[in-house]
Point group: C2
Chain length 193, copies 2
């Protein structure tokens, strides 16, 4: 039996979810773990950027950060390699009806634009929590909207029209690479490759 990514079902390493949370970040981290374990893609979440202002050394080997501040991220949270290509994305969850642009820092948008320009695979993943619907919107369509609109949010309808709905599956939890396959690796899709 073949997995959509071309690996034998019997060789697939499963992740036992236990009592872990169900938020989008968790879903993506688990999916990335699945992709790594099965050698499909190497994608990691970047650590949260902070500025450390005070560190204590209770012993020679141990350091305790005693004061630090959250920094505005200069890049997106996730990047890595898939089928030899550079891949980069940001993931956001909203309880609003439409997606508020305030949810993404301007640096992150600029970063995605640069990645797009350098021929990387760039996109955002947005979950509308109340509907429990999660979409991939590729950078091309994201910036097409942003460059032609002055609204402070991207309407849900735009995601319906241009985005790709992600199904919740078991392993991986959120198979966003399946959509990336369609768009960038020759699946039958009308959108640009």
């Amino acid at each position: 039996m073949m997995h959509p990514n071309g690996i034998k079902k019997t060789n697939i390493k499963m992740i036992n979810y236990g009592n872990r949370g169900m938020a989008l970040e968790e879903d993506i981290n688990l999916s990335n773990e699945f992709y790594r374990l099965n050698d499909i893609a190497i994608i990691h979440k970047k650590p949260t950027p902070i500025t450390i202002t005070k560190v204590d050394y209770p012993s020679r080997l141990e350091a305790v950060i005693k004061e630090a501040y959250f920094k505005t991220p200069s890049t997106t949270d996730y990047n890595g390699i898939y089928k030899g290509r550079y891949i980069d994305f940001e993931a956001k969850e909203t309880r609003c009806k439409n997606f508020p642009l305030a949810n993404i820092h301007i640096h992150q948008l600029n970063h995605l634009r640069q990645i797009e320009k350098h021929n990387g695979i760039a996109f955002i993943i947005v979950r509308f929590s109340k509907l429990d619907e999660t979409f991939v919107l590729i950078a091309y369509d994201l910036f097409n909207y942003l460059d032609n609109n002055t609204k402070k949010s991207i309407p849900y309808s735009y995601f319906k029209e241009k985005g790709f709905l992600l199904k919740n599956t078991f392993n991986p939890r959120l198979d966003y690479l399946k959509v990336i396959d369609k768009i960038y690796f020759g699946g039958n899709n009308e959108k640009r490759v």
Copy 2:
């Protein structure tokens, strides 16, 4: 007048170094800034991974981390995109005669091996501080050594033989992409592409 990377000298955005330090990390960060400013490559240093255990909220908008611990990194410090390719590396400085493997975490080595396997550009940059010599050693040669030796360090002579010496220049401070060009993008070099 043309820059080696094919951009006109007059368009190059210069970085004013001021009184900044001279450590390897600083050199690489400045070089990455130069590459980004001139649209040559998008490469960032990842934030230091930490586990936050206590956060105070003195006001609604401000958060102060009051207790946190350094975590062992699961990936390398630097990654990004160059000429459409995924690029990933770790940078280390040593005052020793040879390069002690204790300087690189096993997770970081495993990560580089995975990147290599997925057809990314993977390497380490090592500076021998006492000699003020900085080398690029590509993952292929790194693992060729590690898989055939049980020593706890990589001899300086191996870097001389297999590595690529980086010259300190002004802008960028450490032009490691010049070496990557030679190895991966058809410069006349006998090593694998």
